[in-house]
Symmetry: C3
Subunit: 454 residues, 3 copies
């Protein structure tokens, strides 16, 4: 790794800098001349209406995803550290790819807070795939995966949002379904028959589960900001945040109930709490901005929690043993199935939209229905088709990228030292050098072991 | 727990979903039709003026309270995990209870960001009570307690804010005093004479104290947002945040000084730092929105810090030994006494309010004084009476709920395994499986090692 | 410490309360009478346009700096705890010092959210210096250092921003360069030839590095808010946040590349990741608000990351061995050199500013250039001079304050117990009292225990 990682980091960053220099500009709200050439109050700058949401999303990407994956006992440095590295790369690359597809202005990409949010969203999709291959890939492989996945994400997003006119503000399809099935296919291609040799490290310890809860809680708290970050201003952002808030709350009760019901002798399983409790946010990603009603949001969250726990308990073992899909974080249960559920809920909710319910607000939520280009049922159909398109691109893309990642040059870790930081990091010891009030062996234990000894 | 927890989770959530379906609607700012039927700019939506405060409060509820309680060496999963569960339930139930008492619109409860903040506030009160019984109650008991406490909270809040016309934006009375004394009475009723059998687990370890500091610091940082979250717009929110900021800063210096002064051989005690440093936020809960002046805020915070440390040092042992109140987190010192102090400060500050000081702003802070319905002295009296009402409802409610929680059906943990995660959670080991400077040897392995071997 | 710490805490806080009572008032946006005497909408209150940024900065100060320093294996309580104490003091003292220099209103200091941000900024500078002396100073010494440093910070800030007309919104000079070189000079004066006696504690353990990553990630995420917190409204805040976002992303790739390139057998070094990845934020502190362009920001961040890692790898050992500067956190690499780089970038960017690029926005970014008082080149010169002034005041101030801190009365810890919490804190054990699946026995201890026993 001495040379491979430095080379790819420097080459990628230098390419990014050159491309940014060539085609990226401030947009009208970040450019000093442009902003002041128009006649508006500084308070109308979109910064004030999107930036707080952006920062919440930013926390989910770097703290949420990063710490959620620290549950592994010996992979904390890599979980947070590689999450940090690939996210920092992906958000720059996503700015270019999305900017290119979202439309150029005289050959230039214009950026501001909204493009920053979209870049973070695209990054989130890459981090979901990272969860599927966690512990089994080198940082070089991850950067290569990110490069391809960001590109395919932008293509899929362009087809859905621009060509088809799909609505997916919170990304049940574009972010979660895409990221999950892309990652699952990649990990399938990278299948390791002898992974059991590292099995002892593929589990948590007490403190690592607490670190992971930091990630879980931050994802859970800020998900309302995530789903509402790029919806239309006014009631749309407000409603989306509210729907997501109740969907997550309902999902949490379902998760605890199902975990105690299914786990060994009725004890709660941290894996379920850390992951399934978030499924309600994923499932509200498409319909969250629609008139789903608080009750509808809660039903969606409740179902998502149940499906997710059942997935961890019964489906994951099948995927691993039968389909040879080694899904380290169980992204299929947290992002895959809940994402599909969210897409279906979105299609149904769109199909039943009426002017009676949306009034003039139809223009914000379903512009093509408001303009008469679509009727609601057609919009629902478009939503359903979009799910198929997303699954297709994700699976096909994952297939190709998976084989690319198999190239030996990218230096995958051997089966015997997966889920292990020390292969990539200078790792210090576990124990502090000090006389603590409690020696590692307590006086009592010592006495029992040998009175004379003490 | 295999059946009890799932049953109560599912029953409660299904009841919530049915009730939400029957009587909860979007308000004018979250409903697409309503919002667009009025003639205003999207930028006037209250989302932009309350949501950032809401998210700060949300972090205090789920990260702040959750991690503050992880100081126990073997109760981290339960501290964060049960905090998560009961908060997710309480915020849904609070939406109904508060919505009902805050006034229905044609038989319907209307919700938006302000109701979300109020729901989180009510949840905070439940989590304060949780701190008093921490480690000694099952999740089923906690959910039952939350159900009753939320209801009583809404009743007390209704009497104070609606019937009496009390001002208590930051909830020194409605949240902190109520939550603390309710919880203290509950733990009194649940008194365990043999709790000493779990005493070895009722303490912290080095890392658990660091996790707890995450909770402390987040509560401390976001308290200005907490106290200002639902005050009137403009100068009121601005002033409340500023007063709380200085109150907390002064409280912190008082806490460090008192901790070193009272603790064993002048060393600082983490219990004081983790808790007493927050008393300044509690004590500024009522008067924070008033013209308390920065200096006044600092005096309040300074006194709160001193009282709180003294409480931990001298009062808590008395409460436990004489009054049989086993207050795990010392909520009496962090929320009880500082809450009462805050109520008194609020009453005095209200009593001396003059138009000379408040100008037209009197309308926002003391509408009944501005309208001439009250004079300032009378407002002060109302504030004082409200403290009495709050204490009465909290203590009586805690008494009744305490006895309900004693019912064997709710499955309290035995005295010998309190403060212990393993009774409710699948708990992994403490040590990672790897070659650290210290190798890990299980008793079994140790047995296998013959003397020559070592 | 039994008496010294309490005495200084109480004396300082009482002085603060008296001074606040004498000369601090609410400003027009926090005073009920003033605000309502003017004719404007509550939504125009600056609270809504600065407070979210303030809270992000607040998190950086208390969580970011506090946890970044928890990397030491046995100094976590002190890192978070003393950071908490001196920050709580410094922000109050800074309110007075900055208020005094920023101009009095009829002999009074007027405060609001902007002064709160400035107070947090000044506090950040003190915490940078804290990083240089971390583990080698008593809390009493730290409070004394904070008192003097805040005062000198305010003087330097006054000379730059008010007298010279320098632009430094993100504080590359006023905060980072000043704090770093002040702290480096202090630690030079406090040089301990026998510090090696505590060397075994001057390192991290696995969990302490994960706690430190919490600090790193929060600083990284919120740096865009930090640099944009007090820039002009509208495009300026928006552009500053965007520039910082890309500068940090580029810096992160440079950091990972350089760390793998320079560290032992190509493994990543947590010290680099925790610190150097942040240099991009420091380096964008001055030019961030200018029309640096996204590409320019990325180049700056890229260079900052390279310089910072090289500093940790090659310069720090020289500073320690040759110049006797024991820089615990390597603030010279994270804040010192990147701060100087940021100042130079700012000077150059200012010197090439043209109306063609800035349009009417010139008025916000370079008011003196817009008004014709300066030409751009002159502004660039002023920026360069400001760097020299800052370095001079920081080094001279650090020299004097360093000697003051040497006074035995402030009770510095002995060389043998530096980097150790137990001298200031009641420290619990490392291990939980429970039957964990594995007890921990080191080979050495195992040897002592006789075989029959096990």
């Amino acid at each position: 790794m001495r040379l491979k990682l430095p080379i790819i980091c420097f080459i990628l960053e230098i390419i990014l800098i050159i491309l940014f220099g060539a085609i990226v500009q401030y947009n009208d709200e970040t450019d000093a001349r442009q902003w002041h050439s128009n006649n508006h109050s500084d308070y109308e700058n979109d910064f004030y209406y999107r930036y707080p949401s952006f920062q919440d999303v930013h926390v989910m990407i770097f703290i949420g995803f990063g710490f959620l994956m620290t549950f592994l006992q010996r992979y904390g440095f890599s979980s947070v550290g590689f999450n940090f590295l690939i996210a920092a790369f992906a958000l720059q690359w996503a700015t270019l790819m999305q900017g290119f597809f979202h439309g150029l202005h005289g050959g230039k990409i214009h950026i501001g807070v909204e493009s920053m949010i979209n870049a973070d969203f695209c990054t989130g999709s890459v981090l979901i795939s990272f969860g599927a291959v966690l512990g089994k890939t080198s940082p070089v492989q991850l950067l290569v995966m990110a490069m391809f996945e960001v590109t395919l994400f932008a293509v899929n997003e362009f087809i859905l949002l621009t060509l088809l006119g799909t609505k997916d503000a919170g990304g049940s399809m574009t972010i979660h379904t895409f990221g999950a099935y892309f990652g699952l296919m990649v990990t399938r291609i990278l299948y390791r028959p002898n992974l059991h040799k590292s099995q002892d490290k593929n589990s948590s310890v007490y403190h690592s589960d607490l670190f992971a809860m930091i990630g879980t809680i931050y994802l859970w708290m800020f998900w309302p900001s995530f789903n509402s970050a790029i919806t239309a201003h006014g009631d749309d952002q407000h409603r989306t945040a509210l729907n997501t808030y109740y969907s997550l709350a309902a999902c949490t009760l379902a998760t605890y109930g199902m975990s105690a019901l299914t786990a060994h002798d009725g004890k709660l399983d941290m894996v379920h709490i850390q992951n399934a409790a978030l499924a309600g946010g994923v499932a509200a990603g498409t319909a969250g901005e629609m008139m789903l009603t608080p009750c509808g949001s809660m039903i969606v969250g409740f179902l998502a929690g149940i499906i997710s726990v059942l997935g961890y308990k019964y489906l994951s073992p099948i995927l691993e043993n039968k389909l040879k899909i080694q899904d380290t974080c169980g992204v299929h249960n947290l992002h895959g199935m809940p994402g599909v559920l969210g897409a279906i809920v979105g299609a149904v909710t769109a199909a039943v939209a009426t002017t009676d319910v949306y009034g003039k607000g139809m223009d914000d939520v379903f512009p093509k229905v408001a303009s008469g280009e679509f009727d609601a049922t057609y919009q629902g159909g478009v939503q359903a088709i979009s799910l198929g398109v997303t699954l297709g691109i994700a699976l096909l893309g994952g297939l190709i990228v998976g084989f690319i990642l198999k190239l030996p040059i990218f230096g995958a870790p051997p089966d015997t030292i997966c889920f292990e930081d020390s292969i990539y990091w200078e790792v210090p010891g576990e124990e502090a050098a000090h006389d603590s009030p409690m020696t590692v062996v307590s006086p009592e234990e010592a006495k029992q072991l040998n009175p004379e000894a003490v």
